[in-house]
Amino acid sequence: MEKLQITLNINGKDQALLVQPNDTLLEVLRDELDLTGSKESCSEGICGSCTIQMDGKPVRSCLTLAMEAQGTKIKTVEGLANGDELSNLQQSFIDHGAVQCGICTPGMLMSADALLSETLNPDDTTIRQALSGNICRCTGYSKIVEAVAHAGKPEKSCPDCQTKE
């Protein structure tokens, strides 16, 4: 198949790429750009491990063609931290023990990050609904939900919130 020249804006940087029309965004991220943080787990848009953001909205990169992503601002898990400085959400995932095997983590973070950018103080039900497109086989979700709820908003009663003194 003939390759086409496209430009994708990924984590704030324009990237010129040669892609096949049927290449998924996930394939391009992982294989061409070595951004392997986004994971392929179910390959059919169910598990959410490949979730990235396009213009701030969570999108499954395994079901999105790279061609379709032109002209949007793409953010992947690699773009969440500011250099070595983690986002509040990332730090909260660490502090609350929300990470086990880690395969679902990047997608989980991208869905949660999108939620938090729209809703300041989501309640338990809202968080669980927002994360229900992301399957985690290890954690039973409790610690992930807690991590999202407490991201950047430490709760005094929570033993795992790092309250800054």
Binding site: E44, T76, V77, L80, G97, G140
Partner: protein, 762 residues
Amino acid sequence: MSDYNIIGKRMPRVDSRAKVMGKVRYSADIKLHGMLVGKIKRSPYAHARILSIDTSKAENLPGVKAVVTGKDTEGVKWGVFGYTRDQQFIQTDKARYIGDEVAGVAAVDEDTALKALDLIQVEYEQLPAVFEPMDAMASDSELIHEDFPNNINIHVNIDTGEVDENFKKAHYIREDTFTAPEESYFQAEPYAVVARFDEDECLEVWCPNGGPHMKSKPLSNSFKLPLHKVKIKKIAIGGAFGGRSEICPADYICALLAKKTSAPVKIIFTREENTIATRQGHAMITTHKTGVDKEGRVLARDTTCYMDGGAYSSTGPIATTVPFLSMEQAYRMESVRYNGYRVYTNKPIRGMIRVHGRGFACGLDTQLDMIAEHLGIDPVEMRLRNSRQPGEYTNTKSLVSSCAMDETIHKAVEKSGFKEKWGKLPPFHGIGIGTNSVQTGFPMGIRGGSQSFIKFNEDGEATVMTGVVDNGQGNDNMVVQIAAQELGLLPEDIHLVSADTETTSSDPGSYSQVSTFVGGQAVKNAASNCKKKLFDVAAKVLKVEPDTLKAENRLIFVKDDPEKSIPIKKVVRISLLNFNSVNAEGGYWPKVDMKREWVSNPYGQMCEAFSFGTTIVEVKVDPDTGEVEVLEVTASQDVGKALNPLVLEGQFEGSIAMGGQGGMLTEYHEWHEGRCVNPTMLDYKLPLACDMPKINNIIVESIEPKGPYGAKEAGMSIAMSAAQGYSAAVSNAIGVHMDSFPLTPDKILTAIKNKKQQDTAK
């Protein structure tokens, strides 16, 4: 005050920073120069003789670098035990399930590799196939493996004697049969393997594993390479749950393709392949016959279980035994007889899974509830009358040293309000309890022990080497925590080298719940030996006896006079100036009965410790739809000692999701003539964030005398008891003791309807 500044603390995991940044590499993320894409050709038939394979068209396709079939193999058969060697990694004579490996290709890209698979022409002669264990045993058509009559792969017989006599003495006897179909792991990471031969002709392999040494041995056998030439490399692993314990034919095929092409090859499984061509949980048909005295104490039990083992042995003898072991550990029985049959069928291969024998375990607890109801005893009292006590022996002669089973029951009962709720909840609202026990390790012969090496660097930091593998549960952190505690360092001072067959010693692996108990203990012993060397040097400098010293926060100080101290870094440097490097080794070998054998001698000390768990579940059932809403789950486990409550709670919560919410409500496979019809995440229903109930975690510490800091198995007793608690709660809600699991809406509606008819008839 605790004696420990790191052990027992809610310490965030050392591997989580790289994981939240998307920097961690798993097998599928590996890229090597000149790497090819590998794919596997699988049998489309459940049982078929392979008449011929023509690979010429595939080989001539541009971009194809190699095609391998059974002809390229040494014909070596794999089996976990000498008497279970029944599986070739590429089949030569016949295929035994839909998905059996018949050929492999390596090509420049995935499209080419897939095209090549289609061009491989295999001529088959279809054979009659069997899909259910009862049919398989009765079948008079061609055996699946000719040297296993009646297709019986494994028969485990345990008989402690006096069973028949005790049944005669029993006040009440029940016999009930329980069934559950297969379930799957659905690890988040689909199986992937990368292999290459390096310049020294060593085979290097990256793949998910439950213990790297379990991979290197079969590969060394197959390639006739010495063990030191097979290097299984450390790599992040995306979940195991029992499904990554053994060699996978793909490991061999990938390595064979790498050898033939002299290039690195990567095989990534599709989600469907991960379901059908790794392992699944066994389907089981279990009959428990139980006789009790007037007080409900079990006098005799006779259990027969038929397990659908699929096409090959896998961990057959272990798989056939473990459901029985959990039963005899959790509950006292005056006498017991067990006949476990693992039967070959033309279905995918079954292995160990987190809740191994859900139908067996849930059946057992359901029957206890039925007996309790007959005797007018409540389920809690019924369990307390039969629960395992410390200092007792199991029926197969394992001493149970630490055991706080009763405390887990009492605490869960109190927290959940069981006593206040039992019998008083509104219609279709129920509460149930499950209790179980899991072994901390299996007898594993020469691979039963673990050894660790520690070396200090001149900056006062330490490198810890251990064979312990992290499947995602947090074993890397466990090792770092133990080393830091023991050496008096901070976790960030520890550099971990682990799960790599080239650099780390043999270790039992993570699949028998023994990583902390054996591997962690080896690290503790190595660190303790290393610390002795530091103390000898520090004692001279501080002019005190070594046994007056303590190490903490990078300092060595006099216990009774903490002002008198010296930095560890300085001690290391003084030692080096005196021509002594600071390093040490340490190991741990559990004292199990080496004569115990799964089939030939199933008696003797199984392992050194057992965990005990209780889960109480409260549910509401919609009588119109049969749907179950889980209101609250209370999980309580005797873990010996919680090394890290933060990580431990994660194990409890994950166990409830897999064992209870998924395992008892939605997860099972459906079949059509040997073909799994729901191998993907779209069709197989896994629990989501919105499905999960409120969870109360209760950690009970019995301080196991032989465990590191008192620790033993942690988490799996919750997975097992959660399954039982879920089923008991649903049964309680609808007033029917369910005997077929999982409890899907169709079964629940049928049960409600039948009960209504029976009640009206009365």
